[in-house]
């Protein structure tokens, strides 16, 4: 069915207000949109890795989740939900569950790229019918903005601080989306909530209703960690996409498809400038670091275009 923005607004909300995420946090925006892609009649079991989203959305006795929800630890949302999915398969086979249930895991980049990576890889390989959604805010925000393997190069975090000798994080961001695609699972996509949310909604719908494991990597800005003015979140997401820092694409049964190609690819300064975590790059002596960042983004973009048959 073609995407109808206004119709999606009529679907019931499955993630409520009253959670304790920061004002202007990107994660709940991602969660709301992903869950909106569920058919209203379908029940969902949601697993959540320890992280900002978890501690803020499930403070006893107040749960922001209208579906069934489970948190157990930091590194194992994928394993936890795979157990629930196995229970469903078994009980359904035995005729004890008459209705369809969907399985979705949410983790931040810490719980996904790093500590939860093994459990994620295992669950994907085993082929559970589930979606793993990484809301990627590019650092361990819950514990106070420490670097993760998703943190971009040069970002200033509390464990990769920009100092007089070392200009922030020294390593490039891990390309998890491609790593997940290499698992050979039926559906992998990189997305972001932007404009009329079509991209994220449609990818969520495909991920949820594709039989077998699916992975979504979704950019989720963090005003505290990235140090930008809270209200500009949506603009910042657009800049990430238009600079090709965060390209939108999907990998369907192994085939790469580009979801969006900016008409005018913007320079990375547009992305770096509004964010306090990159402030040190704008000192005159660090110009070459911005050039390096640009060269890296260009190469990655080029590689992606080739993979997508766009070049």
């Amino acid at each position: 069915m073609p995407y109808n923005f206004k119709k999606t607004a009529q679907k019931p909300e499955r993630f409520t207000g009253g959670h304790r995420m920061c004002a202007g946090c990107g994660a709940p925006v991602v969660v709301r949109t992903v869950l909106r892609a569920l058919k209203p009649e379908d029940h969902a079991v949601i697993a959540n890795a320890t992280g900002c989203l978890e501690v803020s959305s499930s403070i006893y006795p107040y749960s922001a989740w209208k579906d069934s929800y489970i948190h157990s630890a930091f590194e194992n949302a994928a394993a936890t939900v795979s157990g629930a999915e196995a229970a469903y398969v078994s009980l359904k086979k035995q005729g004890k569950i008459p209705y369809d249930t969907k399985f979705i895991a949410f983790g931040g980049d810490g719980g996904t790229y790093d500590i939860g990576f093994q459990s994620l890889s295992g669950a994907m390989e085993r082929g559970h019918d589930m979606v793993y959604v990484c809301y990627d805010n590019e650092a361990y925000m819950n514990t106070g903005i420490q670097r993760s393997s998703s943190t971009p190069k040069f970002a200033d975090t509390t464990t990769s601080p920009a100092g007089s000798v070392i200009p922030g994080k020294l390593q490039y961001k891990k390309d998890l989306t491609k790593i997940m695609a290499a698992h050979g699972i039926p559906y992998v996509a990189q997305s972001a909530p932007m404009k009329n949310f079509r991209d994220l909604y449609e990818k969520s719908e495909k991920a949820i209703y594709t039989q077998g494991p699916a992975f979504l990597n979704v950019l989720a800005p963090c005003p505290r960690g990235w140090r930008y003015d809270t209200p500009i979140m949506m603009e910042l997401i657009e800049i990430a996409v238009d600079t090709c820092v965060w390209p939108l694409y999907e990998v369907v049964n192994g085939e790469y498809h580009l979801s969006y190609k900016p008409k005018n690819k913007r320079p990375v300064e547009d992305w770096l400038k509004p964010q306090g975590r990159f402030k040190h790059l704008f000192a005159p002596q660090n110009r070459h670091l911005i050039d390096e960042f640009q060269a890296y983004v260009d190469k990655e973009w080029d590689d992606l275009l080739k993979l997508c048959g766009e070049k």
Binding site: S63, A73, A87, Q118, G122
Partner: protein, 393 residues
């Protein structure tokens, strides 16, 4: 009609699991428990069970998947040993605290380092305060029986806690011995249907589990959990009495062997208890009043009952197959001695660490312990409180 069979401990436990027919089993191979999921996956492959078998990529994920499955209302089981149990550590506490009645076979093996695949109780003893109910077992028969009973204890409304059924790696797990098995129907009826109060799969009543507790509630949840494990003692007694009716085998919270008139006694868990019974018989033939108390339910610890059972003895040696590194005795010793304080004060209590990393212990090794106890009983003096059996000095 009971079925006379000969099975290894692992075969017996896998057999029990087939009869229990859990909804989900998630497990990862580790010596010496590997055979349990291995045998069980064959039952799955042959369509003999309804179970969804999840061959996870680690023990941490095994316990995580068990948590997800049990939370989803599935009767869930697993098995592990040693490092596997250690890797599960974080999730053991979470399983217990989320009040999920998972039943696990823990085939006891030493912990690294140095790496060692043989038997001692370091693994399970390390998990003794994780909130799991722990039942230790001497033989394949006892392990089989306990596993079936564990389902009932775990899922009981007054308990709602996971249970760990422990037995010795290789000695019990890989040794083929006689066993009496129950018929499938009998086990099926005994364990009954699993009807959890809350389930993630209950569409009509969606729930959130694994919530974040602020200080206003965490303490209350722990108090509630403490009550649940306290309840497990009476529930186990009831379940064991019921089990005796279908099996003819009556179990207690612990087993007393020639203890009622004993002057000297040892307290011991798992397979070496059998060896020690032979020692007791040998000593009894020599007119020495030796006795034995075999640990069965270790968590919750039946402190009052054990203190009472030992109160008339002159000298007791508590045998630990784990070095607790407290420098004040092994884990069973600490609990037994603490239980006896104020209740059996006249009794001299010493500790022996034995059998670490598969160090074999025979009838005559145990006799040395009784000889030591006899000396203490005769003199009324404890020379050494902490002792090592069979170590090269």
């Amino acid at each position: 009609m009971a079925i006379r069979e000969r099975l290894s401990g692992n075969e017996a436990v896998a057999f029990a699991m087939r009869q229990i027919d859990p909804d989900v089993v998630a497990a990862f191979p580790i010596t010496p428990s590997t055979e349990v999921p291995q045998y069980f996956s064959q039952f799955v492959a042959n369509g003999q069970v309804h179970t969804e078998f999840v061959a996870v990529e680690s023990e941490h994920s095994a316990m995580s998947a068990c948590i997800g499955a049990e939370a989803a209302g599935a009767r869930t089981m697993t098995a592990t040993s040693s490092q596997g149990l250690a890797l599960m550590w974080e999730m053991l506490y979470i399983a217990a605290s989320m009040r999920l009645p998972i039943v696990m076979t823990a085939v006891n093996r030493a912990l690294s380092a140095p790496i060692n695949i043989h038997n001692d109780h370091s693994d399970a003893m390390g998990a003794r305060d994780s909130g799991w109910i722990q039942i230790y077992n001497e033989t394949n028969q006892e392990a089989y029986d306990s596993l079936i009973m564990a389902i009932r204890v775990a899922e009981h409304a007054d308990v709602q806690l996971p249970v760990m059924v422990c037995y010795d790696g290789f000695i019990t797990s890989h040794s083929v011995e006689n066993i009496m098995l129950l018929e499938d129907e009998l086990v099926k009826n005994f364990v009954g249907e699993y009807k959890p109060k809350y389930s993630l799969l209950d569409k009509e009543h969606p729930v959130s589990m694994g919530m974040f507790d602020l200080p206003a509630f965490y303490f209350e949840h722990k108090r509630q959990q403490a009550e649940a494990i306290k309840n497990a003692k009476q529930v186990l007694i009831d379940v064991q009495n019921e089990f005796a009716k279908i099996s003819g085998r009556q179990y207690g919270l612990f087993e007393e062997y020639k203890l009622d008139d004993a002057d000297i006694a040892i307290v011991i868990a798992n397979s070496t208890a059998g060896t020690a019974k032979d020692t007791v018989d040998m000593l009894r033939e020599q007119g020495i009043k030796a006795g034995l108390l075999k640990i069965r339910l270790f968590r919750p610890f039946p402190a009052d009952e054990i203190a009472k059972a030992l109160s008339h003895v002159k000298a007791v040696a508590v045998m630990d197959k784990a070095e607790g590194f407290s420098a004040a005795g092994g884990p069973i010793f600490v609990d037994v001695r603490s239980a006896m304080y104020g209740k059996a004060d006249g009794v001299k209590v010493i500790n022996y660490i034995y059998g670490l990393g598969g160090r074999d212990v025979g009838v005559y090794d145990i006799k040395q312990v009784y000889d030591h106890l006899q000396k203490i009983a005769d003199s009324g003096q404890v020379d050494n409180l902490y002792n090592y059996l069979g170590i090269r000095e």
